[in-house]
Amino acid sequence: MTQAVDTTRVLGPGEFYYKETFGPGTVCRGAVLLECEWDGGIVESGALMGVIFRSGDFRGGTFWGGVFLGGTWTDGVWESGFDHAGRYRPRTDHP
């Protein structure tokens, strides 16, 4: 019998990451990411400041001052940032 291996990494409350890269299989659930790269995975809650969001699903939390290059915006607080064209999008004007 084969046992499924859970490869999901959860970034939880109280955790802080600076200039790190996260790929698929990562879930942000309350952590703070500063100037990181997000390339896959799901953001459920927490805060992303100055983050390059390449792909993944943003479902909750705060996005502030980063670049949303790709991926899906489902829900959350858009404080400010830039879209894939480099255009500034002000508060609430999420991609």
């Binding site: 409350p13 109280g14 802080f16 600076y18 309350g30 952590a31 703070v32 500063l34 927490g46 805060a47 400041m49 705060t62 502030w64 670049v67 290059l69 404080e79 400010s80 830039f82 894939h84 064209a85 480099g86 255009r87 500034y88 002000p90 508060r91 609430t92 004007d93």
Partner: protein, 318 residues
């Protein structure tokens, strides 16, 4: 008969800093501009906490707040450009003219038709919007949004450029043959008291500080130079604010001074963790500059301000 109209516009997230800023403008810059024959209006944009800005702190000012088309402070710059004025003077929330006659002395330069703006303080090669006196007619010719920041060449990572607010406008003005004048940095140094990152660190504490424990957030001071500068400068501004108004600055949830930024004790503790010699030296230089700035503002108030003890042992002091 009215003279040319000028709007002095400044976005603020925190009412206490806005109160200190407006005190300087109302006593210094605005009267100096009026003496030069200008019809002056001061517009304070409340980027957040709008209901905490006590109108009694801003006599004579217009208090604006976010709304449709003006969703945040960066959109406010364009909204201010649309106001009925011949000149728009954009000022940072933590920038103070020590010598208010100095910007007034530049007004005759606008007699040259091709002069679009004067930048009194820049932190890059571009003029920025820290203290930018604009001829509104020239800026209104540009595509909107005029002042918005942008990323260029995102598809080519090695050459991606982050244009700060006002940078794209400056380039477009140059392409049209317009000129932006720049004050000499040494001249500005003597006439402007400016502080860095004071709002960013407070907004950061507000937006995500609750997701980190207290020491975790304060640790940003030793990890990020910009946070160290903001925390240090808030402590200085807090000392002045307490002396002038008798109230705490950047209070935390329980009203403790600097609890909404980083306390003086925590600043000192975190600076001890700075090991990189180059970063330490840069911060030492910066702190000395900030000390001079706050003492000049205190002198205007007639206050002999004792500086808070923010440096660890072994750090250069004045």
């Amino acid at each position: 008969m009215h003279g040319p109209r000028i709007v002095v516009a400044s976005p603020h997230r925190y009412p206490d800093l806005a109160r200190l800023w407006y005190r300087g403008v109302a006593r210094g810059l605005a009267p100096a501009l009026r003496r030069a024959g200008l019809d002056v209006e001061v517009v304070v944009f409340r980027d957040a906490h709008a209901d905490e800005f006590d109108p009694a702190w801003f006599p004579g000012a217009v208090l604006e707040a976010p709304g449709p088309g003006v969703r945040d402070f960066l959109e406010f710059y364009d909204a201010a450009l649309a106001l009925d004025a011949d000149y728009l003077f954009l000022l940072d929330a933590d920038l103070f003219f020590v010598d208010p006659e100095w910007p007034v002395s530049w007004l005759p330069r606008f007699d040259q038709e091709n002069v679009a703006a004067v930048s009194f303080l820049r932190r890059t090669q571009e003029p920025g919007v820290y203290a930018l006196l604009c001829r509104t007619a020239a800026y209104r010719e540009l595509p909107r949004p005029v002042f918005a920041p942008a990323y260029e060449d995102l598809e080519d990572e090695r050459n991606t450029v982050n244009r700060q607010p006002g940078d794209v406008a400056a380039r477009r003005l140059r392409e049209r043959g317009r000129e932006i004048l720049y004050a000499e940095p040494a001249e500005a140094e003597e006439r402007i008291a400016d502080f860095h990152g004071t709002t960013v660190i407070r907004a950061s504490r507000e937006v995500f500080g609750h997701l980190m424990d207290g020491p975790g957030f304060e640790g940003l001071v030793s990890r990020k130079r910009y946070f160290a500068m903001g925390a240090y400068d808030n402590a200085l501004l807090g000392s002045l604010y307490q002396s002038v108004f008798g109230e705490p600055f950047a209070p935390g949830p329980g009203g403790e001074p600097l609890g909404g930024s980083v306390t003086a004790e925590a600043v000192r503790r975190e600076l001890e963790q700075v090991r990189d010699r180059k970063v330490k030296e840069e911060l030492e230089d910066y702190f000395l500059r900030s000390d001079r700035s706050i003492l000049r503002l205190a002198a205007i108030e007639g206050i002999d301000l004792p500086l808070p003890d923010l440096r660890p042992q072994g750090w250069r002091r004045a």
